[in-house]
Amino acid sequence: MGTLLFFLLGLLCVGSVLGMILSRNQAHNALLLVLSFASLGGLFGLLDAPFIAAVQIIIYAGAIMVLFIFVIMMVNLKEGIRPERKVWTIRLSAGLAVFLLIELGLAVKGTLASIRGEAGPAIGSPTELGRLLFTDYLYPFEITSILIIAALVGAIVLVKKKKDER
């Protein structure tokens, strides 16, 4: 059952990212990305992380993608951008991706070999996660709040039109 669910969600996730690569319409891209993030949330649930799964769906598939859709709406391209692709760009990107895939695969292989055997049950319930967040990770948590404030103010200041521009 779990394996079936994994393959279903994984296929959905990879398929929607592939669709994003092939599609030319930005709104379709955003919707496909929502599908991909939602299925990733399901995968997080399979990995004993129910709280992170909920956060993934609420923040990623919800808030961040709404932001993307707002910007797509403001930019308002009539038709998608023609892909004037040069062949060498595709070859270069595919080569880079394969190279990084091999490199990361080797790194993961080493990690998995060193970690095997000491697995224990660790279900990320909100209680446990919150306790960890406010004890061991208190300083990163506070710094993140400062970062959020800075990003908020920065985004407003960047996009705000000056008075004489109107």
Partner: protein, 100 residues
């Protein structure tokens, strides 16, 4: 029980797809979406490591990554809007400010 290596494989595949999408796509917004895909691949790797090692720290780090990604999305999209206002386009070919 699903082996953790499956999740790692999926995360690697997603990361590679994100890189390909980033280089193939021609508009800023979709390139930015590709960056989000790569961030999510990293999240998946963190959570599967948390599962494999039986510690919750990986999940806390994913929590931080999601928060920072939200901040990054806000700033990045603001910059894209600024660029669009100046150049009236979001095609990357049109941006040659640094090319002499």
């Amino acid at each position: 029980m699903i082996p953790v290596s499956y999740f790692f494989g999926l995360s690697l595949l997603l990361f590679a797809l994100g890189i390909i999408a980033f280089f193939i796509k021609r508009d800023l917004i979709t390139m930015f979406m590709a960056v989000e895909v790569m961030l999510n691949a990293a999240n998946l790797a963190f959570i599967s490591l948390a599962k494999a090692s039986g510690s919750l720290s990986g999940q806390v780090i994913v929590f931080f990554i999601i928060t920072v990604a939200a901040a990054e999305a806000a700033i990045g999209l603001a910059i894209i809007l600024l660029v669009f206002r100046q150049k009236k386009t979001i095609k990357v070919e049109e941006f040659r400010l640094m090319k002499g």
